[in-house]
């Protein structure tokens, strides 16, 4: 990414990805030497249904400027319905973090299948760009200083 364009802001982005789809796609992307944003850190979980909202809140609390959850396309979940659970949690969690003063665009969910390596690049880059334009996350706890 063009360093001058980022104004020096290097976002921390956590991508929590499913072992059976996005992780394989990201691996393929790597083998094919596709270049994607260096600010995305991948955390592999066995299923997007494993993503506890606490993990997302934890990531935000410990320095993530954006959190991306990636799972299998609807109907393709290795465990049948883990991604559906992930989706429902995501919708409710998005509403909740918004209420807590965090821009809801900082949390995104995408379906990327094992064969969609180019989409990994596309999604990671577009999310990184969005987070970069949003700037560093300001946590609610810092919003008012406690004396």
């Amino acid at each position: 990414m063009d360093e001058a364009k980022t104004d020096g802001f290097k976002p921390n982005i956590v991508a929590i990805v499913c072992n059976w789809c996005t992780y394989i796609a990201a691996d393929t992307a790597g083998v094919a030497r596709m270049k994607y944003s260096p600010y995305v850190r991948i955390v592999r979980v066995m299923c997007s249904g494993r993503v506890d909202p606490q993990m997302v809140l934890w990531a935000f609390r410990h320095g993530a400027d954006g959190v991306l959850i990636c799972g299998c396309h609807p109907g393709d979940c290795h465990y049948k319905e883990g991604n559906y659970k992930a989706y429902r949690r995501y919708i409710l969690l998005k509403r909740m973090v918004k209420q807590m003063g965090i821009d809801e665009r900082r949390l995104r969910l995408e379906w990327i299948s094992a064969g969609e390596a180019p989409r990994v690049k596309e999604v990671f880059n577009s999310f990184a760009e969005e987070i970069r334009s949003l700037g560093p996350l300001k946590l609610p706890v810092e919003a008012g200083s406690h004396e």
Binding site: P53, Y84, R88, I91, L92
Partner: protein
């Protein structure tokens, strides 16, 4: 006062007084406790002043029970004094433990809260726009008010806390059990929640037997819009009851009164963020297709997720707590 009995103190910070009421609700049991201890400081019930507290040796008090969140500079000062004078500090009740209902105010900046209370609330008439002041001169005398702090804080963000007693307010049984634990000398590990259960509320809920094998909810209902069958698991009826993620020990008082659990006993051990855990299970038991509109429609009964899921614990949430210990 005899020298031999252990000394205890009780204090309130930003609280509604319900926790004090809960202590009084011990009724005859309070007399039994009073036989075993000397209550040296309890602003609600006995006439001991701050000066009396200052006269005590450091660590002379065995246990101080402190309820309420920390919202004023006065609270901060008093709990620091009590910490110095006490061997053990117990956070008593949800406000002291997790920030409580009044920590929902942490969603708003301090100035906005003060302006609303002083000028904008519908019940206020303040044409001169008089604002709260920490120092006021009246007839040549300077009067002082404590400072309203930026945020409401749980007790353990101000001083070290040894034990927590949950509840809004803690029930007499929980209080009694906790006091017995403390006086027994057989103390649990520091930082434990005492007096309550270490299993979820569902475990002791009388409606647990009516819970279906697989809980599926088509749509959450708002309490105000629902007809509740008090004999059937509330979650199965679509009422967002927080029992599954809430610590038990209250004997399901709210459920017995036909109301869902709202989570005043706080999270179970091992949970780092109560609201996050609540989001997790409330969303996972929804039985709707994975489409945005369908999910949002099913969640219409939860119009205020923060207010509902962090009702007692916003100040302790991952995004609002001051210390993010691992």
């Amino acid at each position: 006062m005899s020298e031999g009995k252990p000394k205890i103190a009780l204090y309130w910070c930003a609280s509604c007084g319900g926790c004090e009421e809960a202590v009084v609700d011990l009724a005859e049991d309070l007399l039994k406790i009073a036989e075993k201890v000397d209550i040296v400081f309890w602003p609600v019930a006995i006439d001991a002043k701050k000066e009396d507290l200052e006269k005590l040796r450091d660590g002379e008090i065995l246990v101080s029970f402190i309820n309420g969140a920390i919202r004023l500079s006065e609270h901060e000062e008093m709990v620091k004094l009590l910490r110095r004078k006490s061997k053990l500090i117990v956070a008593y009740g949800s406000c002291s433990y997790m920030g409580g209902i009044l920590s929902l105010a942490n969603l708003y900046p301090r100035e906005e809260i003060l302006r609303y209370v002083a000028m904008e609330a519908p019940t206020v008439e303040n044409p001169g726009e008089t604002m709260f002041k920490e120092k006021t001169m009246i007839n040549g005398v300077e009067l002082e008010l404590p400072r309203f702090l930026e945020k409401a804080r749980p007790l353990d963000e101000i001083v070290e806390v040894d034990y927590y007693i949950p509840g809004c307010p803690p029930t007499p049984q929980v209080t009694l059990k906790a006091i017995e634990t403390l006086l027994s000398g057989n103390l649990p590990p520091r930082g434990s929640v005492i007096g309550a259960s270490d299993k979820s509320l569902c475990n002791e809920c009388p409606l647990n037997s009516t819970k279906p094998e697989k809980l599926l909810v088509k749509k959450y209902k708002r309490l105000t819009h629902a007809e509740i069958d008090p004999e059937k698991c509330l979650l199965a009826q679509g009422i967002p009851c927080l029992g599954p993620v809430t610590r038990g020990g209250c004997n399901a008082l709210c459920i017995k009164a036909g109301m869902p659990c709202t989570g005043c006993f706080g999270p179970l051990d091992g949970v780092v963020d109560y609201g996050g855990k609540a989001v997790s299970y409330l969303a996972s038991i929804l039985d709707v297709p994975p489409e945005k509109d369908a999910v949002l429609k099913a969640l219409e009964g939860l119009p205020d997720p923060v207010g509902y899921l962090y009702k007692y614990s916003l100040a302790k949430s991952l995004l609002f707590r001051k210390r993010a210990e691992r």
